[in-house]
């Protein structure tokens, strides 16, 4: 139980978080929760980057994590804007009811 924590522990945690987020993106119908699952996936990536930044003692990983957070903020803002526009026009927030482009 009380082994010292290594980089591998962080990598396994990050993989688990990534898989949970993937289930959320692929299987949920509510678009709000799909966007939240994307945030989970990006956080898993950040844990990985920071674990390697610590392991290699290189600050590049933390810089990259800052850029990932920037992209996550932009994605959340635009995604929620699209969601509001969608709800105004189609009265739904379920991803599989939006099938205008589906043949």
């Amino acid at each position: 139980m009380f082994h010292p924590i290594t980089t591998v522990h962080y990598l396994v945690l990050s993989a688990a978080l990534l898989l949970i987020g993937t289930i959320g993106v692929l299987a949920r119908r509510n678009i709000v929760i799909i966007l939240m699952s994307i945030e989970l996936i990006l956080n898993a990536v950040n844990i990985n980057l920071i674990a390697f930044s610590r392991h290699l003692e290189n600050l590049g990983g933390q810089i990259f994590a800052i850029f990932v957070i920037t992209v996550a903020v932009a994605e959340a803002a635009v995604g929620l804007g699209i969601l509001i526009a969608l709800f105004r026009n189609k009265e739904t927030v379920l991803a599989d009811e939006v099938d205008l482009l589906k043949w």
Binding site: F2, L13, L19, L26, R29, N30, V32, V78, L94
Partner: protein, 169 residues
């Protein structure tokens, strides 16, 4: 020893919050669970001596993005969606993908430490201290161009979200 305890505590918060986020029916409950999960991730940053990212995670994610999510949950009527089926018809495909990748990961975990031979840290490098200061040094010298490109990205996101939320598009 104390690091180990904190790691398991924060990992527990992160994973339980994430599982609740993807399984709850109500979107508000999901958002609350996501806040717990993001706070756990912030604690993990602190354990990794990334103090600046710890502060950014709390201020930006918990204080910014989650408030944005809760605002949108208020603006959009989710009662109808909460009464319906929560998982789409491809849920078995999602489970199959995740089981495949999870099986691969657990196979490597069962291999023991031999499978994870990471390159050893360079001894000559200085230790990570004064995190915010050193991060700023690197960000504004070596990574100046990506920093400016990120500001353009944020401008595009602002304009895009305003246009998307306009009354008539």
């Amino acid at each position: 020893m104390i690091d180990t305890l904190f790691f398991y505590a924060f990992a527990f918060l992160t994973l339980v919050g994430a599982i609740l986020t993807v399984t709850r029916r109500s979107a508000v409950h999901s958002a609350m669970a996501l806040i717990v999960s993001l706070t756990g991730v912030a604690g993990l940053y602190l354990l990794q001596k990334a103090e600046f990212l710890f502060a950014v995670q709390i201020v930006l994610y918990v204080g910014g993005i989650m408030v944005l999510f809760l605002f949108v949950i208020m603006l959009v009527n989710l009662d109808e969606a909460a009464r319906q089926r929560q998982f789409n018809k491809q849920w078995w495909l999602a489970l199959a993908c995740v089981a495949g990748v999870g099986g691969l990961v657990s196979y490597f975990i069962r291999q023991g430490s031999e499978a994870f031979r990471l390159p050893p840290p360079p001894r000559a490098a200085p230790i990570l201290e004064g995190n915010t200061e050193r991060l700023a040094d690197v960000l504004f010298s070596e990574y100046l161009l990506p920093f400016e490109v990120a500001s353009v990205l944020l401008l595009v996101a602002i304009v895009g979200s305003v246009v998307m939320a306009k009354k008539r598009i």
